[in-house]
């Protein structure tokens, strides 16, 4: 991934719905065009966060497997 995140949320070891709520909180604070990256170890968030991004009409840049966690990257487009 060569996109630089403007907001990085480390929600590792936090359970559903913690990481999703953290992402939504960051989304509310972000400006249009900014990139938000969420680190999570919660399995449910891997499904729920992209679903939220799609429903909210935002851009999912990707879900990336990292060392012992995964990273969800989105861009606020509106």
């Amino acid at each position: 991934m060569d996109v630089k995140a403007d907001h990085v949320i480390d929600a590792r070891n936090s359970y559903c719905p913690g990481p999703l709520m953290e992402m939504i909180k960051a989304y509310k604070q972000a400006k249009v065009g900014e990139v938000i990256s969420v680190y999570s170890t919660d399995a449910g968030t891997k499904k729920d966060a992209p679903a939220w991004i799609q429903k909210a009409g935002q851009e999912l840049i990707g879900v990336f497997d990292r060392d012992g966690y995964y990273e969800i990257v989105m861009r606020k487009v509106k």
Binding site: L20, M21, I24, D48, W52
Partner: protein, 271 residues
């Protein structure tokens, strides 16, 4: 010298903690003090039943001091600052209290101001005044569209909104109003509850009862004039009666004392 345990908060958590700790320790070893500012102790879980007039609210209110066991010191005061580094607490009444162990049980506060339009239109049952207001609204209700949900996560007592929803379905059936009413249940995540097996169960039950669900619905604003609730995700639902649990934050003194961000919740540790 006994160890000094200071408990901040005289709600359910602070009260139970004080009484349990008193039961398991001797006064010779442990001194327990509770500081809180509730004039009366209202048992909040009763709110859902009070709103349907299933319970006399007078049974849910007790004088706060009455609930503490012998050997618990109770101080009616408001905490204004917590200094963890120096093991000290200040109160509005001018007290400076020292402690060896601190238990924070100050709970949540409602922040309706976080949602534009909330205060003008939404009903809920999370405190006594609002539960009684909602009781009146339900008595006067003759059919229409009821939207139920929570404005944010976390909230106190997470099952209460769905418990209310099922009781509402029963209540409307009993009063012959169910076929004149649409019930809509909104929830912030991609499911109707945070615990997957509970969510599966209640989702089926809601479907069986004709309760319409909207997931990934985070309340953004409420338009009281046009009676519409708008989600952050772009969905809008109109309503005749809106039962929406208000946004919650932790107490301001927690943030002001540097123990939390503006959300007001102390970060827990796995260590």
């Amino acid at each position: 010298m006994p160890a000094r345990v200071l408990i901040l908060g005289d709600g359910d958590a602070g009260t139970i903690m004080a009484n349990k700790l008193r039961f398991h320790t001797s006064r010779k070893d442990v001194e327990i003090t509770v500081v809180g500012n509730s004039k009366n102790h209202y048992f909040k879980p009763d709110g859902v039943h009070i709103s349907f007039n299933m319970l006399d609210y007078k049974k849910s209110v007790k004088p706060t001091e009455f609930l503490f066991n012998y050997g618990v010191n109770y101080i009616a005061d408001t905490v204004t600052a917590i200094d963890v580094a120096n093991h000290g607490v200040k109160t509005a009444g001018g007290k400076n209290m020292d402690y060896d162990y601190l238990i924070i049980a100050t709970g949540d506060r409602f922040t309706p101001e976080d949602i534009p339009g909330y205060s003008e239109s939404a009903r809920h049952f999370y405190n006594l005044d609002h539960a009684l207001e909602l009781q009146k609204e339900l008595k006067a209700f003759r059919g229409g569209k009821i939207v139920i949900g929570q404005a944010s996560i976390p909230i106190m007592c997470p099952p209460a909104p769905y418990e209310f929803t099922f009781l509402l379905d029963e209540y409307l059936n009993f009063h012959g109003l169910r076929d004149k009413t649409e019930i809509h249940y909104v929830y912030p995540i991609n499911s109707v509850f945070t615990i997957p097996n509970v969510a599966d169960y209640i989702s089926k039950k809601m479907e069986e009862r004709g309760i319409i669900t909207h997931t990934l619905f985070n309340v953004d604003s409420i338009d009281p004039k046009n009676k519409k609730v708008q989600s952050l995700e772009g969905e809008s639902i109109d309503y005749d009666l809106l039962v929406m649990i208000p946004p919650h934050r932790g107490q301001k003194v927690i943030s002001d004392s540097g123990l939390a961000d503006d959300g007001g919740y102390v970060t827990s540790s796995h260590d």
